[in-house]
Symmetry: C2
Subunit: 178 residues, 2 copies
């Protein structure tokens, strides 16, 4: 394998770093014939934006749902009302339900999801500003990661997008190695 510069930590990802990650995701998905859909809460569309900064993204990126409100999470993504009520919108369970839901609704191979509290408001003692879950679902599995960012609203959004892109890439690398 060619040597690559180590990726920037998600906390410090610039928009250019995100587009570089999106380029690697696009190459990996096209090589494997995989299509992708996104479900975004706190990132608000940033994830879809960076994926579509790369020319040719329409060959694998189908679209996404920005579920900023809980009503969109239940109505458009099929996140169960009970899951939201029991675990809250910012939880591993909701992240997984969003990833699986967008994958099913948009009929893609992979679903990518982000839910978190970008700040500066909206945090609680139990769920502070910066708490974020990112998830990736395929037909039979899902993976989810918890992060706690400490940047500005803008930096936290970029960190969240970087984290889910890195989670996709690590999953695809594991599949290739298996």
């Amino acid at each position: 394998m060619p040597l690559e510069a180590p990726p920037a930590a998600p906390e410090h990802a610039s928009l250019d770093d995100l587009v570089a990650l999106a380029r690697r995701v696009q190459s990996a998905c096209l090589a494997r014939g995989l299509t992708v859909a996104t479900a975004e809460s706190c990132t608000g569309g940033l994830l879809g934006h960076v994926l579509t900064e790369v020319a040719g993204s329409s060959a694998y990126f189908v679209g996404g749902i920005v579920s900023y409100s809980d009503a969109v999470k239940t109505g458009q993504l099929g996140v169960p009302v009970e899951t939201l009520a029991h675990h809250g919108a910012v939880s591993a369970q909701v992240a997984v339900a969003m990833a699986a839901g967008v994958r099913e609704r948009l009929a893609t191979d992979l679903g990518l999801a982000v839910t978190g509290i970008a700040g500066p408001d909206g945090g609680t003692t139990e769920k502070p500003v910066g708490l974020t879950y990112v998830a990736v679902a395929d037909r039979s599995h899902s993976r989810v990661e918890r992060h706690l960012w400490s940047g500005t609203r803008d930096a936290n959004k970029r960190a969240s997008a970087a984290a889910v892109l890195e989670l996709v890439l690590s999953g695809l690398a594991e599949d290739a190695a298996a």
Copy 2:
């Protein structure tokens, strides 16, 4: 009214310009008690991203649908298959159907839509790279604008997002003057 610097032409809108426009949209919508949803094709999520760069956006921005593929335009936004077939995905008719569709599906007061060809590929003689339609729909009306950008893929996406934000603002100003 306070004097304001004239807005940058959409073609030259930076991300900071877009966030400044988003801040004005947020103020205008909150003042009128209006909620907003977005339907994005060529911008891929950029519009939702800039709306949610402004703290407090969850008070009026409900979410959106990134309908990069035609299947998402019909399945998630209710754009009629015949409209797509007859006019093409990049058309005034589809822009209006996307704006009205997302407004209805996400149950908001306003629907904002963008469909275009960001480039560098995908253009034809009839529909060249840079051709973009932006639309805003409310309960009873819709407005649509045609633009032809001549920038890079990234600049064309920013120009399209700026154009739809300015279309919302001009519509709200007209309503206030009526």
